[in-house]
Amino acid sequence: MIKIANLSFRYGNNIVFSNLNLSLAPGGVCGLLGKNGAGKTTLLKLMAGLLFPMNGDIRVAGRKASERSVGFLQDLFFLPEVFDLPPVTPLQYEKLYSPFYPGYQRESFREYLRGFDVSIDTKLSKISFGQKKKFLIAFGLATGCRLVLMDEPTNGLDISSKSGFRKAVASCLSDDQVFIIATHQVRDLESLIDPVIILDQGSIIFNHSMEAVSNRLKISYLSEAPEPQETLFFEKRLGGYISVTENHDDMSSSIDLETLFNCVVGNRRQITKIFQKEAGT
């Protein structure tokens, strides 16, 4: 679905990506994680053809992103973190913009709006940012695009809307679609994301499925601090400690994305070794 080969990009003298490679198959909700300034939004914009690479190639379903061809745009929906909507109602918006998407699902749109509790006949200029975001998420999911890029989709959503978002995404994802979600709000999307991609200093330092993660790493809750040499990572939590160790048992453990992220960013070499070793055996 997405092939990024030898991608290089920079803002002025600030190199963001250098020879970045990534390949994503359809059928998953890919979580794009990284610190501030790691290049998550830039990568999404490059995939959407809103930025052009200095070197390398980005293709979505075989189409070059920077050409912004009609077929490419019909296959891609991009939800930016900040956006502006025209002063129309959701129904008017649908009438004006849905004809551009051949796979648009009218019924799904209404269903998502109902789920998000967004009124179909209130002007978009008169609703809150969170409501606007839910409207745009509903529209994006209803377009039927094979690639949906979302930049911080849960920012501004209330607790029930976050749960509604997870349900909507999980119910609409089909085998030929891929959703890429760049976020800092990992707890909001813990049950949804698979695979996990972690960007750090312009490189992809981690790109694995949740199954692989739970098979190879073990996250435990301890009442006392573990010996540093015994763990890959540990930190104090309320009522004890959380630690990440290599999983030597055949039992898989549940994954806490925030802990995984901190562990990967702090132990890049060791984590790479573990996953390479496992992949080799």
Partner: protein
């Protein structure tokens, strides 16, 4: 199939419909302004009957100001990341997106404005005759002066389009500055050329810039021999050829060149 990827009439018409809908308040304000102007003319006419040239002037300034504003509205916000992502990510080719806005801001806006103005002047004429027994000249949109003024307006619009697409910040101010600079340079080289050609027979050849019906004009004191030459039939044909060349340059080269520059600037634009 390939052409459909570049230009599809259905998508093109939908884009025009979207822009018309999203700018409905602007069109409403323009129509209200036209109504207000006509009302003033109507009241003025009761005191002093107006001529057709007043209508042409009002029609021209309406299309001129409205045309520039709609061009700035449609193309001026393309550097605003929050507004532009939606437009750029809409599944239509850039040719469709660009040409739909270009046609809306030029042909459709002009036709709409003239039709509305014509209808209003018709109502105004009827009322004038009924109430005051006087007759206004009905606005004729097919008057050659109106068509000439429309072309001139489109030339200015093309400059503004190119400028607001090209410059990221303070686009309108920068466009005006560059355009004035361009006119001054053109005038400067025109004066040099005229001095080179007719310098022996004249004095004080200079130029004046103004933004009315003419872009700029040349002036100076000609010798009697040169005046006689310019009044002769041969000179008349030279002058009409020069005017024809100016027209060809502005309408068929300069204006499309501005559009093409704007189009390619949008094509390479990043956000």
């Amino acid at each position: 199939m390939k052409f459909d990827n570049t230009f599809n009439a259905k998508r093109f018409l939908q884009l025009i419909k979207n822009d018309l809908y999203n700018n409905r308040f602007f069109f409403f304000i323009t129509a209200t302004a036209a109504l207000g102007i006509l009302l003033l003319l109507f009241l003025y006419d009761s005191i002093n009957p107006i001529t057709s040239s007043t209508h042409i002037a009002v029609g021209f300034y309406g299309i001129f100001l409205g045309g520039l504003i709609i061009t700035a509205r449609l193309f001026g916000n393309l550097h605003d990341e929050t507004k532009v992502v939606e437009w750029h990510m809409l599944p239509a080719s850039l040719l469709e997106k660009f040409s739909s806005r270009l046609i809306l801001s030029t042909i459709i806006y002009a036709c709409g404005w003239y039709l509305f103005f014509f209808l209003l002047s018709l109502v105004s004429e009827t009322l004038c005759q009924w109430l005051f027994g006087s007759s206004q000249q009905i606005f004729n949109p097919f008057n050659p002066e109106v068509l000439h003024a429309t072309l001139l307006c489109w030339i200015y619009q093309s400059v503004l389009l190119c400028g607001v697409v090209y410059f990221r910040k303070h686009a309108v101010a920068k466009t005006v500055l560059v355009f004035v600079l361009y006119l001054l340079l053109l005038g400067f080289f025109g004066v040099i050329a005229l001095n080179f050609l007719f310098g022996k027979y004249s004095s004080n050849i200079g130029f004046r810039v103004y933004f009315g019906v003419k872009v700029f004009s040349m002036g100076g004191h000609m010798s009697e021999g040169l005046k006689t030459f310019f009044q002769s039939d041969g000179a008349g044909s030279i002058i009409s050829t020069a005017n024809w060349l100016k027209h060809i340059y502005l309408v068929y080269i300069f204006m499309p060149a501005c559009w093409v520059v704007g189009y390619f600037r949008l094509k390479e634009m990043e956000f």
